[in-house]
């Protein structure tokens, strides 16, 4: 293999599995260490800079970082990264004074943001300090988008949402709430220098089956139902409720129903349980609230008698897989099952919808009525119009919306300043020695064996009777510290200087997880087969040195390195050094 180019900013970034997996590339280990040091305010600000909504995300993030976390490869479970974020938010001190302080001298440019969800709010946060005059339009009376209309209060208290949306609105954003934008043409005619579309994927899918129209009064679309609950247009539901669908929306619908009088709530999915789209923890929480999940039962008919919904008729199927692994649901031949219900909630997905964007403006649309966009710049075919969040490529999640927002903000700034939108800023990176003395590092290199801590829950007596009582209580400071200590500090990199190596093997002998091998060079596949421990996880890189005096090379499999620093500790010549790698996505405006 070619020697590894550690100057490539992505090489060490990739080693920080959590940060690399995070769409906004939040410097996770950096803030986890700050939490362990009880420096919650700074931990919060690192998050705020990257993901804009630490308190919200610390409760609701889809956490792509956790399945990626290295800890999950050396023991049972990853670090509870998401819940640690909440620890920072819960225990922080004054953060407002650390944020950019307006009023900002105007730069003469005006921008419209359509939709008040996390994508638009992120654009607003990144551009306001640069002096842009920002106009935010949303059809509801407050900002937050689906974080407000969809995510139930028992998962995300309104105060937390208001606080973090407030930090942005207070940067001097001109809000146009309670205004549904019905025409893009009109917006364009207002002379904005650029327009950002962050209107989400607002259309809930319906299920056209026999009885749908007759039973309409008691058949609800999931996201409409949740919005109605959030805005207190709906405050009760029947005793028996069926929720159709297996995603996170279905989980929120069934748990909300439990709190509005549904005491016999069932989730029924058409395919096998293991194929459910909902996050495992959301499924677990629903089940803990006494909600059964029935699988392999596609609905066939809404049964309506005398104009009243009686229930739903289901078929029984099983999954069969062809040689390409493609799934097919085939009938088991069992007789259909009728399940009684007073109300049915359809939560089978969302679609994008842009009925308000006229098709003759030069904004092209492609497959599934999604806008044709540049994947890096988020620019549409009409140069002054940009998209982001769920509106860009279909429904995702909050952290993706924030990541889009950052990139769109850069594009908008470039565009408005007459620059090239394709000219993207390099990430900020820094490598810092961690050595302090013999056996002393600037980070806590000791690897604890604690298992993942569970977040305590509020009593069900309270949570199931009041939909606004938050279920999760969050870690207290003590447990927050213990969980933080589980982090392996993957950003403290093992940096190898071949010219210093005397090939004494000390690092090979000490490494607890057999990461290091000195051997003859070869092609990657061949090398992987020859290392001291199997290197079968090809998503993790091999770090290969220049040839050493014995003609061999040093090969380190990054896969299960514990970042314990022992290789550097045992190296007599400091050919190995532990260096903290800071990687930060450059934003349109410097925040911290």
């Amino acid at each position: 293999m070619e020697p590894t180019n550690i100057r490539d900013p992505e090489y060490f970034h990739k080693v920080v599995d959590c940060q690399y997996a995070c769409p906004a590339h939040t410097p996770v280990p950096e803030y986890i260490r700050l939490i362990a040091a009880e420096r919650y305010t700074e931990a919060y600000m690192i998050n705020w800079e990257s993901n804009v909504f630490p308190g919200i995300l610390g409760r609701t993030c889809d956490r792509p970082c956790e399945p990626a976390c290295r800890r999950g490869r050396v023991e049972e479970e990853p670090v509870a990264i998401c819940r640690l974020k909440r620890v920072a938010a819960d225990h922080k001190g004054d953060v407002r004074s650390l944020m950019p302080q307006g009023p900002f001298p105007p730069n003469g440019k005006k921008i419209a943001l359509i939709g008040g969800g996390p994508a638009s709010l992120t654009v607003a946060r990144d551009l306001a300090p640069l002096g842009y005059e920002i106009h935010l339009y949303d059809e509801w009376h407050k900002g937050g988008g689906m974080m407000r209309t969809q995510i139930p209060a028992f998962r995300l208290p309104e105060e937390v949402l208001d606080e973090e949306v407030g930090y942005i609105i207070d940067l001097g954003i001109h809000t146009h709430f309670n205004q549904y934008v019905a025409s893009m043409r009109e917006i364009l005619e207002k002379g904005y220098d650029a327009v950002f579309v962050g209107t989400g994927a607002p259309k809930g899918r319906d299920l056209q089956l026999p009885g749908r129209e007759e039973g309409a009064k008691n058949i609800h679309i999931g996201i409409e139902f949740l919005a109605n609950v959030a805005f207190e247009h709906t405050d009760k539901i029947g005793r028996k409720v069926i929720v159709l669908g297996g995603g996170n929306t279905a989980m929120d619908c069934c748990r909300t129903s439990r709190r509005l009088g549904g005491d016999d709530v069932k989730v029924i999915v058409r395919s096998p349980f293991k194929d459910m789209k909902a996050s495992p923890w959301e499924i677990e929480d629903a089940q803990e609230e006494g909600i059964p999940i029935l699988n392999n039962m596609p609905p066939k008919e809404f049964v309506v008698e005398n104009g009243r919904l009686k229930g739903v008729l289901f078929e029984h199927v099983k999954a069969e897989y062809d040689e390409n692994g493609r799934r097919r649901l085939v009938s088991t031949g069992e007789p259909d099952t009728f399940v009684e219900a007073d109300d049915v909630i359809i939560a089978i997905g969302q679609d994008n919808a842009f009925p308000w964007i006229e098709r003759d403006l030069g904004i092209e649309f492609g497959k599934w009525d999604l806008p044709a966009l540049d994947k890096v710049t988020f620019q549409s075919t009409l140069p002054k119009v940009f998209f982001g969040g769920d509106a860009a490529f279909g429904p995702e999640n909050i952290i993706t919306a924030a990541a889009h927002g950052h990139q769109a903000a850069i594009s908008i700034d470039r565009y408005c300043q007459g620059g090239d939108v394709h000219d993207r800023p390099a990430p900020m990176t820094n490598l810092i020695h961690q050595k302090m003395g013999i056996h002393e590092w600037m980070y806590d290199s000791y690897v604890v064996t604690d298992q993942r801590y569970k977040v305590p829950h509020e009593s069900k007596v309270l949570t199931l009777t009041n939909r606004k009582v938050e279920v999760e209580l969050g870690f207290d400071r003590g447990v927050g510290f213990q969980e933080a200590q589980r982090c392996l500090n993957c950003d403290v990199q093992t940096v190898f200087t071949d010219s210093k190596c005397i090939e004494c093997d000390a690092c090979v002998d000490i490494c607890p997880t057999s990461c290091i091998t000195f051997t003859e060079n070869g092609e990657e596949e061949d090398l992987r087969a020859r290392l001291n421990a199997p290197a079968s996880n090809t998503s993790q890189d091999l770090y290969v040195s220049e040839p050493l005096p014995t003609k061999r090379v040093m090969v380190k499999d990054e896969d299960v390195c514990l970042h314990c620093g022992l290789c550097a500790e045992r190296c007599p010549t400091a050919a190995w050094d532990m260096q903290k790698y800071l990687y930060n996505v450059t934003k349109a405006c410097k925040i911290l």
Binding site: H439, C504, A506, P512, S514, C515, P549, L562, C571, P572
Partner: protein, 350 residues
């Protein structure tokens, strides 16, 4: 301050026939200087014992005094161990071996421990052909006491302080050949591919097996001008052969070109396959081994590999015709065979 080896190991570590992974043969974290050659030898011992599927409770580690003699703490933590007195490892091992012939004995010593204070013990344990592996971690100095010259410091070798070795050095390999050792090998801590099979072969040899392992002292004897530094050893090393150790139950998979190879079958059925790099030398002929060694010395080479092996080796128990079982397993009836037997013995003296 954190200098603690984490508990986690590579989740995909392979297992040996006993179901143990390499990690099960490790010991406490080393307190030797970073980069000390001795640590690599410890690592090789761990690997060799893992690969040979040795049951840890069947092995005893015995050592003397020195950095080298400290290493048994850093490997095989589930085995027996005795850290004895300076230079006395051979007699302690002899006693242990006489009492319990069932254990595998691994003696660990240094050049100071063996070639100075323990010289007499070293010679006699060879004469007696005690069934043991005797590893000398040879750094050409007294590491533990801050690097004084030892009896293996070569004439003219420059110390860290700049002085040159004044005396002729003792070559433990030459001495062992002279004294009739039945297994004699030399290796280098920085060459595990050579060292590991040698350790395995030594442990399988029924009798005394000497492994003189050059093991640089990074702190006191790794300077320019030293003949025991990493650089010097790497520049002057000359291997007699490439060795493969093939346990009895395994099939032989390596093949070497005709003529240059030799195979030696050990008493337990395992085989040593030698790919000879050095012509005119026969590893089962003591005379040719001595000649080859002398020749290397003249050319300034450090000769490594298996130099001599006597496949007919008879250990002390064979020589003395001792009882076949360890003493601690003897029952009252074995120890007190009754008056009839006593009569017989007495009669034999009449």
């Amino acid at each position: 301050m954190t200098y603690i080896k984490p508990k986690f190991r590579h989740p995909g570590l392979p297992k040996n026939t006993l179901g143990y992974s390499r990690a099960d043969y490790e010991g406490a974290i080393s307190t030797l200087c970073a980069g000390c050659g001795h640590d690599s030898i410890s690592g090789s011992i761990v690997q060799a014992c893992y690969e040979m599927s040795i049951e840890p409770h069947r092995l005893a580690k015995v050592s003397g005094i020195g950095c080298s003699s400290k290493t048994p703490t850093y490997f095989l933590e589930n085995s027996h161990g005795f850290n004895s007195v300076h230079g006395r490892m051979p007699s302690v091992t002899t006693g242990a071996n006489m009492a319990n012939r069932d254990l595998i004995y691994l003696g660990v010593s240094g050049d100071g421990d063996s070639a100075s204070i323990g010289m007499g013990q070293f010679c006699h344990v060879i004469r007696r052909n005690i069934n043991m592996t005797y590893i000398v971690m040879n750094n050409g100095c007294y590491g533990l006491t801050k690097g004084q010259d030892s009896a293996t410091t070569d004439f003219g070798s420059v110390s860290k302080g700049g002085s040159k070795g004044l005396y002729q050095s003792i070559d433990l390999i030459g001495l062992a050949l002279e004294l009739g050792a039945t297994f004699v090998a030399r290796s280098f801590s920085g060459d595990k591919t050579q060292l590991i099979p040698l350790i395995k072969a030594a442990m399988s040899h029924p009798g005394f097996a000497l492994l003189d392992v050059l093991s640089p002292c990074v702190t006191f004897n790794n300077n320019v001008g030293s003949t025991k530094s990493y650089d010097y050893v790497r520049d002057h090393i000359e291997a007699t052969s490439v060795l493969d150790f093939v346990p009895e139950e395994e099939e032989i998979t390596v093949s070497y070109p005709e003529g240059g190879s030799a195979s030696v079958t050990l008493h337990d059925g395992s085989q040593l396959l030698l790919h000879k790099l050095s012509p005119h030398w026969d590893p089962t002929d003591r005379h040719s081994a001595v000649n080859r060694l002398q020749q290397a010395k003249k050319q300034g080479e450090i000769l490594t590999g298996l130099l001599y092996i006597d496949p007919q080796s008879q250990d002390l128990h064979d020589i003395m015709g001792t009882y076949s079982k360890p003493l601690n397993s003897l029952q009252e009836e074995d120890l007190c065979p009754g008056s009839a037997t006593l009569e017989k013995i007495n009669a034999s003296f009449r």
